[in-house]
Each structure stands twice: as C-alpha cells, then as structure tokens.
Symmetry: D2
C-alpha cells in the first residue's frame, strides 16, 4: 500500500504545473509546490503513507468540518440549520452577494466562508474559549495533542480578511450572528490557521468514517446523524463549486483547504489526507485532486 | 419486503398534508394526492411493490436523467460539459438569472431546466427523431415498450412554458444551442410528458445501479464513467436545491419530478420508484421524501 | 449657427477613434464612421444643420421614446407604469437577469430593451396595425411622410434577436405581456429599423420640446404630463447606464440608438439630432456625445 | 409666498398617513409626523417659510451631497469617480450585492450608502479632522455656525450600522478604501447625524443653485463643473430608486434623507428645504414629496 501511494504521488506530480500556491498572504506563498504527501488511515488503526506526509500546513477550510461538528454538538441540527442552509452552490467559497438578495435568508451551506463563520459563531464559549474548544476537538479526533495554530498566518489572515469581515457584518445585520463580529472572526481566522499534516487529516477522516466514535465527553450525541450531516455536506459542498464534478470523478466525500490539504472520508473504511499546496482555479489542490482520483479508482472507493 | 413497503407508505401518508399537487397546468392538477405507490427493483430481477405502484404519471424532470444519458452517449462527457456545468446550485429548478451574469457561461448542471434543455439539444436527431430516440431509450431501460407520452400534458406544457422558452432563447443568444429553439423545446416538453409508473422508475433506477448494462446497440460506451456521471450528478443536483439536505437525510442518489415521482439509485443493489403527487415547497414529492427516508433507514442505504 | 455646428463637428471628429460601428448585424457594420451630421430645429421652425445631416440611419433605441409616447397616448400613465418602472439602472440596455429576481416585478424603465418591448406590447393594434401606428406617429412628429423602415435591418434583427426574444418570453411568463410574443417582437424589430436622418431627429426633439403640440387627432391628452414623462425619463434613463454621467457633462435630456443617432430635447427651445455611427462602450455615439457636450456649453443648454 | 407655502403644507398634510417615521433607531422614532415645515431661499437672499420650518432633524442622506462636494474639492472629478460611478440604480439606498458581482468595480453612484462611504473616505483629514471639515463646510454653506451633530443619533447609528460596516469592509477588500474602515464609518455616522432645519436646507440648496459661490477659502475650483456634478447627480440619483419617477412628477433636482428632509435646487433661482418625517416605501418624506410636487407646479419649476 505504501508503494501504491508513492506511485500515485509520482504519477500526479506533474499536476503541480496546473496550479499555483495561494499567495494572498505571504506566509502561504512560501509553501513549496513540490512538497506532496498522502496518508491513509483505516479503521483498524493502520496508517499508510508516502511523500511529505509529515509536512505541516494550515488546515484552512478543512476546519469548516470541525466547526460544523462542534456547532452541531453544541446546538443540535435544527438550531444550526436555522442559520445556515444545506444547499450546494455554484458560487465560489467567498461569495457574498446572495446574502443581500431579498429572497435569501442565510448562507447556502457551512462549507463556504459565510456559512462557516455562522458555525464558528454557534460554537459555545466566550472570547478565547470558543477557539480553545475547536482546537481541543481537533487534537482529540486527530489524536495529536501537539496540534496548534500558526501565529504568523493567523495575524496575516486577520489583517487582510476584509471580505470575511464584510460577510460577518452583513450576517450581523441579518440577525444571523449573536455576539461580537470581530471576536467571532478572530476565532475563525485562528481556526483556519491551525497547522496539521497529511497524517492528521487522515485520522480526522477516519474518525468521521468511524461514525464519530469517541465523543462521550461531549454528552449524548446521535453519532449516526452527526456523521450523515458531515459526510453528506462534504459530498455535496466540500470541494466548493467543483463539488459536483468531484463527485463524478472521485466520488469520495472530501473537504479541501487553500493551504493545500484535502481530507477524504470513506465511510466505515478509512480516512484520507493529501497535501499539495499548488491550487487549481477552484481553490483545490491540483495534485491532491489527481491523487484522490487515482486512489478512488485503484481502491474502488467511488460511491457513484 | 412488500409488507415493509406497505407499512412505510402508511407511515408517511400524512405527509400528503405538507404538499400540494402541481397545478400550473390543468392536467397535473387532476392527480389524487392520496395515490401513493412504491416499487423496488433489485439487480436479480426481483420486484417489490406496494400501493398504487401502477398508477401512471408524467415523468417530468426525471426525464433529465435520460436526456443526460443520451446526450453523453451521443457526444461524450467533454462535449456535453462544454455547454452545461457540474455544479450544484442553491437556486430553484427554473432559475434563469445567472445565465445573464457576465461571469456565467453555461447552466449550472443538467438537472435544472436550463441545463436539461441543453442536453435535449445535444441528443442527436432531427425534428421528431430526437424525441423518438429519447422515448426508445426509456422504453428500453425500463423494459416497457408501452411507455408513451401524454398528449394533453405535452400540449399544456407547450402552451404555457414561456419561462423555458425564455431560457432557450437566452442560451441561443449565448451560443450554447445549435438548431431551432422551438423544435428543441418541443422535444423537451414531450420528454417531460412521458408517462411512467413507480415500477418503470424502479427499473430505470436498477438499470443505472447495474452500471448501465445493456446499451450495446448504442456503440462502445465507458459504462463505469457514464454511471458515475449520472449518479454523481443525481446525488449533488437531483433534488433541486434540496439536494444537499436530501443527501444528509436520505443519502440515496435520486431524481424527482413535479409529476410526483422520485427515482432512486443504490449502486450495485437496486433501483427505487416512488409516487406521490403532492409536492413540497422545493417541488419534490412530500410523501416520496418521507418514504425514501424510511427506506434508507430500514434498508441501511444511506451512503453518508 | 450653421458655422458653429460645422466647427463643433470638426472639433469632435477625432472621437471617431474612441468608438466602433455596431456590427452585430451586417447591415449596421456597413456604416461609415466618418459620416457625421448634426441638426438643430428651434420652435420657430428654423433648421440649422451641418455635415451629413441627411444621411439615413436606423433609429434603433430612439424609437423607444416614440413607443413610450404612443403607449401613454393609448393607455395613460398609470396603466403603462403598472408594467414598466420609472427607475434608472446601472445595467446595460439588454439586461435581463433582474426580471428573474424574486423582488423584481417589471423592467426598470422603458428605455432598456425589456421595458421598450413592454411599451410596444401596449401600443394598440393587431398584427401590422401596431407597427403602422408607430410609423404614422413618427412620420407625423418628424413632419416627414417618407420615413419608412429598412427591410434588411429588420430581417437581420429578427433573425438574431434571441436575447430580446428571451426577454419577451420571460415577461410573458411574468404576466406582463398580453398577446403573442413573436408578433410583438416583430413590431419591435421593425420600429428599431425605421430609417431617419439628423433632421428628422431634431424635428422629433423639437416636437417634444414644444410640449407635444399637434396630437389632436389622438384625442384628449394631457400634453404637459406626457412631455414631463418623456423628458424626465430621457433625462434619467435615455443614455443607458451612462445617463447620470451624461446629465453631469451635457445636461440635455437625450436618447441614443446603436444606429449612431442621438436625439436631444431642450424644453421650450429646440430639438437636436446628431449622427455618428461609431459607438463607445456604453453603446452611445462617441462623436455624438462630444458634439452634444460642445453644443450644451456653447449654447448654455445644461440644465444642471 | 408665505401664504402659498402654508396652503401647500395644508393641502399635503393628509399624506402623513401614507408614510411612517423611520424607527430603526429609537432617536428617529420619536419624531412627530405632523411636524411639517418648508422654506424657500432665493438668490437675492429672501427667505420664505411656513410650518415647522425651524424644527431640527438629522440631515441623514442629504449629507451625501456635502460629502460629494468636499470630496470633489479635495480630489477633483477624475479621482473621485475612479472609485464611485455616475450611474442611476434601480436598487435601494442600502444595496450591497452588486459590489460582489464580478463585473462591478465600484458603487453605482455617490447617493447610495456605499458610494457615500467612498466620498467620505476621500475627504481629506485624519481622525476627527475629516468630520470637522464636513461640519465646517455645512456651517459655511448654510450660513449657520450653530449647526452640530446629534450625539444620541450618532451613537445609535454607530451601534446598529452593521450593513454599512459590511459595505465598508467589502469596499476595503476591493481596494476602493484607503485607511481604517471603522474610522471612516465613524465620520459617516456623524455626518448623517448632523442636525438641520428646513431653513438650513433651503440655504444649502440656494448655495448650490448659485453655482457654489463662496468657496474661495477652498482654493481654485471650477464652480460650474462642481455645480453640474452635484445637480446632475441629484437629478438622476438623489431620491434613491424613485429618482426617475420624481424627475417626471417634480422635475427639481433634490436629495432626501430618512430624517424626513428634502433639499431641492432650482438652478440660478432658489433652494428649497422641506421637512416631514413620515417616509414612504422608498425612504422619501411622503409629505415632502407632495409639497415638492405642488411647489413645482405652482412656481413652474419642473425642468422636464
């Protein structure tokens, strides 16, 4: 298996050329597009890995899955989806305009930025506590207590994230956000700046694939339902407006981030973590997409 | 199994009250909301059924799956998706406005009306031939040579379908449609007026679930790929802008129509046909949704 | 005065380079961008002219003023503006998308295509009669019985006008249009193809500037009101989404057409007709705009 | 004249019933809808007034004219209109969505909130200085050194103005705003909270009607041009998306505010100030509109 992973990496390495490292903040622009890693974690606890699987990168939008998970744990499905929809969208991750159309009352889904700001706002906790709870949950489900956020990335996101700020205040004006917008965004920028590697992602994926087992400390949870929500939403919205094409070509519920990561969930089987910082025009890792496509075919993981 | 199906029907009968029979044309308004049927066809050829499984209704948007199938057979994936996207959308089935935004070059996906008009336009054949080929394909995959269209419904759709006409001419002006718009719409209105029952739908679903086996007469086809496209698109776009929520709650790739039908595909296992003409606010059968939810839970069919 | 007009033409001749002759249909593309004409008609019946003032060109969107005039005569202000708004817009003349937004119930104003199709639909008359009444009104107010439409341009507009067709069917589906869409569009394409010269435009402008005097044959009309509507709408919407800038720089209520004409109305003083077929990016005559600016300054006509 | 004004007030008093006092902040909701005042200031220095002409109210959006004036004085026409358009709009004053459409690069015009935030950002001065310069200009052109802002209204606007904040950050992300968004909004909220009466408004109107004479202290200014810009923009955009209808019915370039004021400019003749806090559905004073209509007819002021 490790050999297969290495082979798949090499087969897709040339896709680096189809992408470009995110550079809207300097800290991201420093990533090396040739750093490619992959890790598969099955539900028996086996870990298969290849390439730069232990290269750290920021989790970025993949944190939206964790934010949604904790918002659901803290509030339940109904209260979360009062404020954010379950609708795929043909708009990019940072779309704002629909929130200002009179027939729209909430963000389309929790995987676009506006929707993720909502789920962050719904995570319980005041000030720092909100972020600490998100960090604690990631550490737990990745089984890695050393996970932390990158202060430089966080500070850069915070100082340039004006469009996210616009979304935050727009949703405040719509009555969707309680509490202080700046403080919620602060948490959001921090959660996006959490550093992980491909191994961490694969373990988070495996945790979800295993029906979110191991959350006893969080009280009574309908784990089946929690998992269906997370995986169903990842499947239809996880790869931004490329989600539907990705469903066709890969067929593994996944979530990507502009840090270059992709996390895949194969229910009852495995979690997958991929890293490749060059991004295609949809903001997904270009190499990562190729690797997921090959993994899906080689291991017959396509759901569709 | 037949008992289970009957029980599920009865359990969901009260959902009739949450819906309303489509009445934009008189022929549809005559449907009896209490006529509820369900049929499951497995890949061994067994048929399980309950209720008004042999009640005829118009296939409406479920024909979009057949239109896409034939467009793919006739043109291949690349040429079809030059003119229509693979993107889920948070807009309703009859949305038009995005086609007039300067950054949008094609309909979001083949399951909304505009996208389906594109796939109809791509089906090979002049004049009547286009429709005859669609009808022949449905008859074949449903294994029912008696399937035909309802002339009254067709004439009504044709005389009131001005918004579809607007879409057609808009896409003509965008260079997405070759040929005569009225003649393409004529075919589209006819394909929507094809009459089926729940048994037909379950067999069409089973055909797709069986990797579209049996298309030899159509030449060399990558059946795996064809199936992934159909099922992937149904999963992310098949229930209109309710698709993502439906993925969470049901997790069976499905397509609905305003005639009251829902067709489900459980890959390598079975096809499902449900009928219940009362529609919820998303245009999906209200009872049908409840039945699909129960079937998914009882038979453990949720992919997510 | 004739000398001043000639001088102003020469001063602005180089603006030809800032524009491009419309070429969406071949007949328009044949126009010579160096053909520039201007004519001023005062209310005493004096005519001042220079350049190619008797060069014929199609009236195009300037006909929207006549269409509005006749719709108002036939229906009154209230019934016309039930179906079209009085709102300036920051969208181009052929915008469609807003009609599909749920909070929009009618076209923004009668100077964009969708709004003009509405006013054409409101002109009384069956089949050919509708167009004949529009033509008769133009002949009367331009005091030129030889005015007619260009059959080649009409046929070209008709065969390529798919976006206008999309608007027509969209508005039919919204309940804004009674009668047959194709027949209304036929009239619209014909009215746009009417041929005039700068002298004709100046006389139409003078007619309006003179409070629409001379419509006795049309029955009892509140001429003050009719004039205020026409001039107020021209002032705020007549130059497409350039109207507000034009108000600042020129300050003469005007209407332009892609045939290269601009008609100006200086109330109680004069009408102005300008011709220059090279169009700027807003679809207005580039030379015509320069000439109007100079005329406004030299003759102190700026209202603002 | 004073009698005519009183008569016009009484004639329109019943229009109070067609409107509603703005109540998005408590301080505005306290206004008495029966307090109606009007004042006309001609260019010879005569002042005619009637009703509650000395009732103080907040200037609100009428301050956008002053903000535009000072931005033009400080930067010139070209630099201002690089960042804000000259386009009328069919959207309400607080519209945001277009800024997020890919073909839109700046707010439509300086009379909607987003555009006014731009002009405020362009007024020279750091921190408090920006506002002090706006206040000084209003005091000067209204010839009333006692004008000041209402601290309670300012604090309320500041604490509830989240949609304006969203616009500010959106435009920051578009590169349209230099400097700190919160500090610019602070100035914007203060300028909207400036208290005036109908007399002040009439004098500001008369100042503009008199070609902005008296700005020598501000350096060399093309006063003709400055005036054309202000009046041209008021004429096409000053009454929000009602501007075009208002042009037809009143024909006096005007600007309204949700405080209940309307300021009219009759070039080379007079300024008009009207107060009536009940607002119609477009956010314009319902009584004020009626009064302006009657004034226009009685004094023959309609430009169109």
């Amino acid at each position: 298996m490790d050999n297969l992973l290495m082979e798949i990496i090499e087969r897709n390495r040339n896709l680096v050329r189809n992408g470009k490292v995110a550079d809207y903040i300097p800290a991201l622009g420093k990533a090396n597009p040739e750093d490619i890693g992959v890790c598969v974690a099955d539900l028996e606890g086996n870990i298969y890995k290849a390439g730069k699987y232990n290269k750290k990168f920021t989790i970025q939008s993949i944190s939206k899955v964790i934010g949604l998970m904790l918002a659901l744990i803290d509030n339940g499905q109904d209260r979360v989806f009062e404020k954010v929809g379950y609708e795929g969208t043909d708009e990019p991750f940072n779309t704002l305009y629909k929130l200002d159309l009179p027939h729209v009352f909430k963000p389309a889904n929790p995987m676009i930025n506006s929707g993720a700001i909502i789920t962050t706002s719904l995570v319980k906790g005041n000030g720092e506590e909100k972020f600490e709870r998100i960090l604690a949950l990631i550490r737990k489900i990745a089984d890695n207590p050393s996970i932390d956020y990158n202060h430089e990335v966080y500070m850069s996101e915070k100082s340039t994230g004006h469009k996210n700020r616009a979304m935050g205040y727009m949703m405040k004006s719509m009555g969707l956000i309680n509490g202080d917008v700046e403080s919620i965004l602060d948490c959001y920028f921090k959660q996006c700046s959490i550093e992980v590697d491909a191994v961490d992602l694969s373990k988070i994926g495996a945790f979800i694939a295993n029906n979110c087992k191991g959350l006893d400390a969080y009280g009574k949870i309908d784990r089946e339902k929690l998992t269906s929500i997370l995986v169903g939403i990842m499947s239809t919205c996880g790869m931004y407006n490329f989600s539907s094409r990705y469903a066709v070509e890969v067929g593994i519920p996944s979530k990507s981030g502009v840090g270059g990561g992709i996390m895949g969930v194969v229910k009852s089987k495995m979690g997958i973590g991929v890293y490749g910082p060059a991004l295609d025009e949809n903001g997904n890792s270009s190499v990562g997409y190729g690797i997921m496509k090959d993994l899906s075919r080689e291991l017959k993981l396509n759901l569709f």
